[in-house]
């Protein structure tokens, strides 16, 4: 199984090359056929495992990844995984072919194939994963790849915004999902789903049951576009149609449904499970169907219809009787076939006439006969007309929901299906019948790669309807995996005349009537209802999303403006203030017990040195000329060197003397070119700063005294003293530490010095051109204004860059 994933990933890696090679050989879009071989191969490999899976023999792979973290790449193929895996690879192969035709001649075709294959690998991994964390990683990978796919037309702002919205909603859901999965893993004491299955009972009675269920459901609902997170799916239609056909009908949006199904045997069967999932699903189902009729864009109609079906699946899984589980899988399979096909039909129409507005379309059946045939097959399945698989799915659905006593679920189901039948009218009838319109006059059929895939899906839907025995096996295995026990499934096309059939007929009649009303332009009569739904649904969550996005951005801007205000002293003040505050918070209580009187043992010359340092510091602070300040700084440095001499550190003293001299010389050289001190601040500011400085200084004094009382009795330098001669053969221990024991540190120090030297050299050698002409002092007004007038010159940018680095 790992090989399958690897094969798809390799195909993704070589997709751009394949595109180039095939393109240069004059093959045009044939690369799609070449690449489709890989998912088709995986599809066949999955089919070969069908018999063993159907006989309840799961296939699994276990690779220990990070044992210390309980991370394992474990994959398992059971009925549910097989069902999803076949959809992912089968439809994926068709989509690759279709995408080749759809984006024929586009430079980005290779990129599209690559992203589609990457997504396919992520999705396949998601449905095969047997470890919660592996599952989560693939889950997130689908979010990221779908972000890239939705934003495929990256030059269009609305496309980018839609991609970001999808990422924020599904990625945010993923963030919520992760703690849910971790809670589940903790409660079940394992992250392996197959192990968790054996401890379902304790997990359902665990104290964390409700929180984990809520967290996981938020993740699943965002991914599967359930109310109130449904708004991202219609916007995601900004993607090119092959992507919508793949992600937003058959795969990605089903991931949430898959998760609910996968965890059903562990978490399902409780009242919380039933009410939360079934009710959200029912709301989404009705909402999607109503909003589908409001839309005029072909893809939007399909997107809302998809939301409706996703709601159906969620509802059926929430109800969770054996019959509804089977029905959910049947609807899932039927939907994958017909919705994938219909999206491709919509794409073919768009590709041919560059128009997706239903009102502008008409009369295409003669111009695009193959597409029309595909639309008919898919439309019949969507409307649930005999003898398609869609009919069987709907029968099973009605039948199963009808047995849930006293519920409005059946009514909601019929209501949503009436809407879907009417939507079929808009997608499959309106564009093809009637007179040709202005937009469709020059319509023409696309190539085989364009109409072939939807026809294949349509025929498959029909074939499954006529011969439902084989698929029954798979549905039995799949629903067995969801239910956690064997479920007998006997699908048949004809059940005889019963209540369910009558309900189906009623649905069809209602849908056709609704379509007829809407087509007759009687829309205004229904408008108030639509506005009601629009207000409740489209605007509510969507507006909240935009408000949230705006507010977060505003907050970030405001916070940045406040904290990063450009005043260096403000940053310093923050740092010093926080340090002082945290020191006092840490010391607070312990100070009194630790501070004990220390022997005040000083000698005269030491006092003299200390006083000299303090006096020089005061002079440096109060100096009105730079020369005095630099001189005072030098005095401080020499006196510190003196202290080093007195307390047994001659090496330090020598270094300090040399460096101090260098520093003073350097300062004098540079400062002679700089202006005299100006007094820039008011006395109030100076008083405030003095207070801050004194408090900080006093804190350091106290901290230092405190540090000296808590000193351990065994300094680590004993080791250096003892081993200096025996191991490093040197008698000056300080030198030995620098060049031997801690030689790497010294190397680092030398590196810093070298980098600083390079910085100094490059700053000095990059002279502004004016300067080179000897046009006088740098501070001269005219030159300054000239330099200010020419931003972005070489020197400016370098200086700015260096300043940034310094800031870091």
């Amino acid at each position: 199984m790992l090989l399958w994933l690897l094969a798809i990933l390799i195909a993704a890696a070589v997709a751009p090359t394949v595109n180039r090679v095939v393109g240069s050989l004059g093959g045009g879009s044939l690369g799609g056929w070449v690449l489709a071989v890989v998912p088709a191969g995986v599809f066949i490999a999955l089919l070969r495992l069908w018999p063993s899976v159907v006989n309840q023999q799961d296939v699994s792979v276990f690779v220990d990844w990070v044992p210390a973290l309980n991370l394992a790449v474990s994959l398992r193929l059971d009925g549910l995984s097989l069902l999803f895996g076949l959809m992912v690879t089968g439809i994926g192969a068709l989509i690759l072919v279709y995408a080749g035709a759809y984006l024929k001649g586009d430079d980005r075709l290779g990129q599209l194939w690559m992203l589609l294959l990457l997504f396919m690998a992520a999705m396949l991994g998601l449905v095969l994963a047997d470890n919660l964390l592996t599952l989560f990683i693939f889950w997130e990978l689908t979010s990221i790849t779908s972000y890239l796919l939705i934003g495929f037309n990256s030059d269009r702002p609305e496309s980018r915004a839609s991609a970001l919205q999808a990422l924020l909603v599904t990625g945010g859901g993923g963030l919520v999902l992760l703690p849910g999965l971790i809670l589940l893993g903790l409660a079940g004491n394992s992250f392996e789903i197959s192990t968790l299955l054996t401890s379902a009972e304790p997990i359902r009675e665990h104290a964390f049951y409700l929180p984990m269920l809520l967290l996981i459901l938020v993740g699943a609902f965002t991914k599967s576009a359930q109310f109130p997170f449904h708004f991202w799916l219609p916007n995601a239609m900004a993607a090119p149609t092959p992507i919508s056909a793949y992600l937003h009908s058959a795969t990605m949006v089903k991931a949430g449904v898959y998760l609910i199904a996968r965890l059903h045997p562990i978490l399902g069967g409780t009242a919380e499970w039933f009410w939360m999932i079934a009710s959200v699903g029912a709301i989404t189902m009705v909402l999607g169907a109503v909003l589908a009729l409001r839309a005029t864009d072909l893809k939007q109609v399909l997107a809302y219809a998809t939301i409706s079906v996703l709601g159906t699946l969620t509802m059926l899984l929430g109800i969770g009787t054996e019959a509804t589980l089977v029905a959910a899988l049947a609807v899932l399979v039927a939907h994958a076939f017909y919705k994938g096909g219909l999206f491709m039909v919509a794409g073919a129409i768009d590709h041919s006439v560059h128009q997706r507005d239903v009102r502008e379309l008409g009369g295409l059946r003669m111009a695009m006969p193959a597409t029309f045939a595909a639309a008919c097959l898919a439309g019949c399945s969507m409307a649930g007309v005999l003898p398609t698989f869609g009919f069987i799915a709907k029968e099973t659905w009605y039948e199963s929901v009808g047995h849930v006593a006293g519920s409005g679920f059946l009514a909601a189901s019929i209501l949503s299906n009436v809407g879907l039948v009417a939507a079929v009218g808009f997608v499959c009838v309106k564009p093809f019948f009637g007179r040709r319109t202005e937009s469709t006059r020059h319509a023409h059929e696309g190539g085989l790669a364009m109409w072939g895939p939807p026809v294949v899906l349509g025929i498959a839907g029909l074939a499954l309807g006529l011969l439902p025995t084989r698929i029954s096996e798979l549905l039995a295995a799949g629903s067995g995996a969801i239910a956690g026990r064997a479920v007998p499934v006997h699908l048949a096309l004809w059940h005889g005349v019963n209540v369910t059939l009558l309900l189906s007929l009623l649905t069809l009649a209602g849908g056709i009537t609704l379509y007829w009303i809407l087509r007759q332009g009687q829309l205004h009569r229904l408008k108030p209802y639509f506005y009601f739904f629009e207000g409740v649904t489209q605007y509510g969550p969507s507006r909240f999303y935009h408000w949230l996005l705006r507010t977060v951005n505003q907050f970030a801007r405001g916070q940045t403006a406040m904290l990063q205000n450009g005043y260096l002293r403000f940053y310093l003040f923050t740092m010093v203030g926080l340090t002082v505050a945290s020191v006092w918070m840490a010391l607070g209580g312990e100070l009194r017990s630790h501070l004990k009187p220390m022997p005040f043992d000083v000698r005269g010359h030491e006092v003299l040195l200390a006083c000299l340092i303090l006096a020089a510091a005061v002079v440096a602070v109060r100096a009105t000329t730079w020369l005095l300040a630099v001189g005072a700084l030098g005095v401080v440095g020499y006196c510190v060197a003196g202290i080093f001499v007195l307390f047994g550190a001659p090496d330090l003293a020598m270094t300090q003397f040399v460096i101090e001299t260098l520093t003073v010389v350097l300062f004098v050289m540079a400062f002679s070119r700089l202006p005299e001190f100006r007094r820039l601040s008011t006395s109030a500011t100076r008083g405030r700063d003095a207070l801050i400085a004194v408090v900080a200084g006093a804190t350091i004094t106290v901290l230092l005294l405190f540090a000296m009382t808590v000193r351990s009795s065994h300094p680590i330098s004993d080791y250096y003293l003892a081993h200096s001669v025996s191991e490093a053969h040197g008698r000056n221990v300080v030198n030995v530490i620098l060049v031997d024991f801690r030689a790497l540190d010294t190397l680092g120090e030398i590196t810093v010095l070298a980098i600083a030297a390079i910085g100094v050299y490059s700053l000095l050698s990059l002279r502004p051109s004016k300067q080179a002409d000897g046009e006088g002092d740098a501070a001269e007004g005219t030159e300054v204004s000239l330099r200010k007038g020419v931003p972005g010159t070489q020197f400016d940018s370098t200086a700015g860059h260096a300043a940034d680095q310094e800031g870091v």
Binding site: G566, V621, A649, A690, I700, R742, V760, R787, A802
Partner: protein, 115 residues
């Protein structure tokens, strides 16, 4: 002596911080210099003071027989002195060039990266 040096270190810190809070970029440099001295002295004092006993192993022994000054803080400070010199030199040149280019030493006029 510990107390005296602790007070000295505190005084140097106060002076350094005060100077770094100035708007004048030249004063900021002086403050940086004071602060690095303060930090060195802080390390030195915190490492423990031993009068006049250099951490050198006498010729006739394998290790010092009497208590000597702690060599470890000294090694640290030696590194710190050199690094702070590098930082000071770099900052000095940076400020010098900034002044040449922009003609101001007032930090409040250097708030944005674009001139």
């Amino acid at each position: 002596m510990d107390i005296l040096l602790a007070i000295t270190v505190g005084g140097l810190y106060a002076a350094g911080i005060y100077m770094m809070l100035r708007r004048n970029v030249v004063k900021l440099l002086i403050g940086l210099g004071l602060l690095s001295h303060a930090a060195n002295l802080l390390l030195f004092t915190a490492g423990g003071l031993v009068r006049g006993r250099v951490p050198v192993v006498p010729d006739e022994g394998a290790w010092p027989l009497v208590i000597v000054a702690d060599p470890l803080p000294q090694a640290l400070i030696l590194t710190a002195i050199v690094i702070s010199f590098a930082v000071l030199a770099f900052a000095l040149v940076l400020i010098y060039r900034t002044y040449q280019t922009l003609g101001t030493e007032d930090l409040d006029e250097l708030k944005a990266t674009d001139t």
